[in-house]
């Protein structure tokens, strides 16, 4: 449309045409505003809500750099020259929560990330569509439950007095351990129950990618003598690369999110040493100890660090393949 107007202006020549175009645009704008006025009233509702509940907290982040006093408010509080950050790096908790956050996330990446890919490949090899559907439907179930419910169910399964795990221990003639209170077992337990909860739902995107693979590829490969394993390795897995890359970048960017809901509902003071992560620490110092400004600083540190990691992974992945999020 703009191209057409340019052509017309070249024909009429000079500044006069610009005025005409401006005038047309203005009239067009007025016409559209006139036509759409009601839509702006609609739009005002979500815009006001987002401004209040998303932008006002963004403004509140500044208390991370201030000595927040409730009496004088966010704006009136004094800047404190990054004291909260200095304090945070100096506390003995800094080492503990960084170590736990990174260790738990890294194990989730190492064991949890490939799990849905493997499950999707295994499901893809199933011949009976009914059997496959039943397994899929069951595997999605924990995705729809809160970690409060899952923790309630899992503490029962893992209970040293009544659980099935303890039952197997007694069958072997051993004393059942209190699994949720053993520091050495707590992180593996988090990873395992995390996989148990998320693996089924994680297959949805991979199975969708598999279903879009051209069946002729498999056919010609098997005519050429490729067995099942070879077809999976040379056709199915390469078709999943773009999806794997995107999800890998996103998970690496979220590496400082070690799973607040899960940990918060399963941990207890006995295993704090191996399970206290940045998010649980932010909650405890912020809302239990009421150190609002300090807690905000720790949260901000985590978010900034996360964004940097996301950018870094994306850059590294882009260097080695064409895939990337942007």
């Amino acid at each position: 449309m703009i191209g057409g107007r340019r052509g017309a202006s070249a024909h009429a020549g000079g500044g006069e045409a610009v005025v005409v175009i401006d005038d047309m645009r203005r009239r067009d704008l007025r016409r559209r505003l006139n036509k759409y006025w009601m839509l702006y009233i609609f739009l005002a509702v979500p815009v006001v809500l987002l401004a209040l509940f998303h932008y006002v907290p963004l403004y509140g982040i500044q208390i991370a750099f201030k000595d927040y006093r409730i009496g004088v408010g966010i704006w009136g509080s004094q800047w404190n020259n990054f004291q909260h950050f200095k304090d945070f790096f100096g506390t003995p908790y800094f080492g503990r929560i960084m170590r736990n956050t990174l260790l738990i996330s890294f194990q989730r990446l190492l064991f949890g990330f490939p799990a849905p890919i493997i499950l999707a490949l295994l499901l893809n090899e199933v011949g009976s569509i009914h059997f496959k559907r039943v397994v899929q439907t069951i595997s999605y179930l924990p995705h729809f439950m809160s970690w409060v419910v899952l923790a309630a169910i899992l503490t029962e399964v893992l209970s040293p007095q009544r659980g099935i795990v303890a039952y197997f221990y007694t069958l072997l003639g051993k004393q059942p351990p209190n699994l949720l209170m053993e520091a050495a077992l707590f992180q593996p337990l988090l990873i395992l129950t995390g996989i148990w909860q998320g693996v089924g739902w994680g297959t949805v995107v991979y199975l969708a990618a598999i279903s879009s693979i051209d069946l002729e590829l498999y056919e010609s490969a098997s005519i050429d003598g490729a067995g099942r394993l070879q077809r999976a390795v040379y056709i199915t897995i390469p078709a999943l690369y773009p999806m794997i890359t995107i999800l890998f970048i996103l998970q690496t960017g979220g590496i400082l999110n070690a799973g607040f809901d899960q940990i918060f509902n399963l941990y207890n003071p006995i295993v704090y040493e191996v399970s206290d992560i940045i998010d649980t620490y932010v909650y405890r110092v912020g809302l239990i100890d009421r150190r609002y400004d300090f807690s905000t600083a720790v949260g901000l540190f985590k978010n900034v660090f996360g964004v940097l990691l996301l950018l870094l992974t994306n850059a590294v992945v882009k260097r080695f393949s064409e895939n990337g999020i942007w």
Binding site: H54, V204, T296
Partner: protein, 312 residues
Amino acid sequence: MESGRIPAASAGPRKPPWMRRKTRGDVVFDVCNAAFLVLFALSVVYPFWTTIVTSLSTEKEATEMGLRIWIRDWTLNSYRFALSGYGNVGRAYLNSIFRTAVGTVLAVIVTILGAFPLSKRDLPGRNAVTVFILITMFFSGGLIPSYLLIRSLGLIDSRWALILPSLAAGFHIIIMRNFFMTVDKACEESAFMDGANYLQILLRIIVPLSKPVIATVALWVAVGHWNAWFDALIYINSEKKLVLQLLLRRLIQEMTLLSDPMNSFMASENTRIPSEGVKSAIVILTIGPIVALYPFLQKYFIKGVFMGSLKG
């Protein structure tokens, strides 16, 4: 955007001939694969199943060690006790229903109000508002600034603290806008020429044609509300406004502490500690609505994955 492809459709019941020939290795693999998948499915089902069994068993049986696969003496005592005797399960149930129902209806309305104007390509200011919304999806103020906001609004211990902050969600608005953009514009324009205003067009044309996306967003929001507990933990103080998830959480915390022998002396002092059966009954009551709607939820959640992956 047609209805999302169901992933399972790939391997049709009729297999092409090249898949029918099987070597011995293939058969061995198939058997191992099926066995593994059955074990995996059992590992997901067993914890839920044993909770149902425990909730219907007598107290003596519920506290015994062992595989709990079937109910020997069954009783509804745990449910009776949960709903009448212990705590405020009934009231917590109503509180959860309230936040889910009101929160979902309002959130869907707000989402539609945001999505419809943004689906007009020639709406002046559309890009600016879209950017304003996208920013909220990538940056957040975090726990404490949000808490301080709720406090300064005077919403501490108000049910609205659980509903208002999540009414407008950028992701939902964008997903719905993308769907609205695929709705045929011709019939909308002719309605406008005939003198209909945009509210009438929205209600009579757009909403009826967009049921799949509205259902998807509504179910996302509803499941989110039903499962939410953290906001109630930090914003709600009074017992009578407690939601079900939080009631359950409190219970488990008390029981986990007691399962440690070091703390067991507390058991005699604290008489509010309920039994295994009652705890299981509360779990079943909590997940009941989700399980009842499960086939439906699963279908629309899968649809949602596909709507989310299409960029607009």
